[in-house]
Symmetry: C2
Subunit: 354 residues, 2 copies
DNA sequence: CTGTTAGCGCTTTCAC
DNA sequence: GTGAAAGCGCTAACAG
């Protein structure tokens, strides 16, 4: 083996030209004779030359990777296995196939309180990034990402940054549709099992629920809205608590668990029978796929569809074929007809460990 | 906003110290007064300072990411969805939880013939890397990775590089056990449906098969060993072709598809009935899980277990708590007892697209 | 305990 | 068509 590590200067010396000429060839730029170019390419090939990506990003403007970041720790906001696989394949389709590095930052929180989820942007590692998850109401990082000029797209909105680049569904509308539907069926006291407390989608659910109540002139009782975390135990006991009050005749299940068994367990404990003394509207993230067969309606939240369009927008922004930011918001759809079946219990990506 | 982009010089000026002092604080090194350190940290916090990762890797020795690379294009060697999810979670557990970036290079081949699968190593992006798949027999890249000094681990061996850092199972032994078992049951003409033509694990299968035949003094007929690609059509027709010869009374299914339906279809076309006029040994990648209920034996290839140990070795090597290379080889296990059930048809990660 | 100097490998002026 | 020189932001070596 000759030199274990070749720089453009080594190549230049070998070719009898200057480093700048090598740089031009490396970047496929003009201003180099075709014989010189061929000679340089030959040497590069022979010695297995690769440019130092750090030096490149330091001097040039182009960073190394497309980043994927989780704006909340996974134990706070878990990620579903199916969604993750879908996202990964989509990232591959849109970015990876062109030879982009796709870089995941799963747990910057481990690095201490000063580290934040967008460090890949601020450290000049990412040329673009996907913020994959809901944003906290007090998030102050996304605004800095926005200002950095690096193309980005969040899978969620943020009231405090209306210009935020995002692809999401209208959770407020979903909650509004759910609540209005139950009101129209004559319910007066409607409980809601929601999630994402402290995060924007949690707030949006609350707003939609309130809007429907207000329109109908019904009072708001804060005890009827419960936020759950993602533990099974927690969900069952929250349902139990909500339905302990016999005046509560309806429940909106928009906790994002997509798993009916805990809900059923909670109803059982409360001595309730679905369809008899309680009606349920459930949210689903797959078109026409019921989460709960005996629900009186489902609301479909097309987050996959929104994310797909958002990723394409992000890719175009990254390539410069369009300007950012991206702004995709899909409307949810309420449906009352579906074929009888129960979806498999969804798995969390990191259920496997610890 | 003040300066949109702070360097250690800006911090140094603000703090009234030199850049070197800031660098020391940034890297948690000694030789800085505690008041100075606190002041500098305060400024960093206030302005949201992040070091430029490219500059860091250029000057220092530490690269940015843990890399995951596929040594063959995915259309040539597909990856199973279950294995991928498992690998991702494991990477998270071992590297991601410590705050490492995990960077995937899914398709460097798109960048032209000069690009190779380990560019992330040669471009000084990776501080460590996992080579996730079988190595081609004519692979010349892994040796350069080996020489680069970057900790790495391949999920497969390579004859031409015995010192290669790897975690794998002994495919040769698997083929040997399978063939010997069938010979002991009296079979003389044993067909083998293998995969990974041109890749090391394909060769290993062939070697184990030959070794068992030789030991028993049976002749080798090259028509009895067929390599398949991963299309369903291909597998069924290969099985058909192999079993067309009535003298063939046994089949080793080690094509890595883990899907019995194509095998059954091929047997049907050949007019064969399993257990009656043909016996099958099938390979499985899950402990005690049958791929084919009416096989006469299964061989379990503990690749997950090997990969897990290999990843831990790689992590230790990366942290410097042990020396490389890693060398983990698990032995396969033949078993003839299992509970009756059929595994779900495995999904390829990228079946979803194109 | 702290600062000065040099230089990592590349790209960007600007000159010829 | 090509080259010389400067400098990106950081850290290692060496002073003080």
């Amino acid at each position: 083996m000759s030199t274990s590590h070749w720089t453009i200067y080594d190549i230049a010396r070998e070719a009898g030209v200057s480093a700048k000429t090598v740089s031009r060839v490396l970047n496929g730029k003009g201003g180099v004779g075709s014989d010189t170019r061929a000679r340089i390419l030959g040497i590069m090939e022979r010695v297995g030359f690769h440019p130092h990506i750090g030096a490149r990003t330091l001097r040039g403007k182009q960073n190394a990777c497309v980043g994927v970041i989780l704006p909340a720790p996974m134990n706070v906001v878990p990620i579903s296995q199916n969604f993750f696989v879908w996202l990964f394949v989509e990232l591959y389709r849109i970015f990876g196939r062109n030879g982009e590095y796709i870089s995941f930052d799963m747990n910057p929180y481990a690095l201490g309180p000063h580290a934040n989820y967008a460090r890949g942007v601020f450290e000049h590692l990412y040329k673009a990034c996907v913020v994959s998850g809901p944003l906290a109401l007090d998030d102050h990082v996304i605004a800095r990402v926005h200002d950095s000029g690096v193309p980005y797209m969040a899978l969620g909105r943020l009231d405090s940054l209306p210009e935020c680049s995002c692809a999401t569904v209208d959770y407020e509308e979903g909650a509004y549709l759910s609540t209005r539907f139950l009101i129209e069926r004559g319910h007066k006291r409607i409980a809601m099992l929601k999630a994402f407390e402290g995060y924007q989608p949690g707030l949006e659910r609350q707003r939609g629920y309130l809007r429907a109540l207000n329109e109908a002139g019904l009072p708001f009782d804060e005890n009827l809205v419960r936020s759950v975390t993602f533990g099974a135990h927690n969900i069952a006991s929250m349902v139990h608590r909500l339905l302990a009050d016999p005046c509560v005749t309806a429940l909106i299940e928009c906790s994002a668990t997509e798993d009916a068994s805990n809900l059923r367990e909670g109803m059982r404990r409360a001595g309730r029978t679905i369809g008899k003394d309680v009606e349920v509207v459930a949210w689903t993230y797959s078109e026409n796929a019921p989460v709960l067969n005996d629900a009186c309606a489902h609301v479909w939240l097309p987050i996959i569809e929104a994310a797909s369009e958002g990723l394409e927008g992000l890719a175009a922004w990254t390539q410069g074929t369009r300007k950012g930011p991206v702004h995709v918001v899909y409307r949810p759809l309420l449906f009352t007809q579906w074929s009888d079946c129960e979806l498999p219990k969804p798995k969390r990506l990191f259920d496997l460990i610890d």
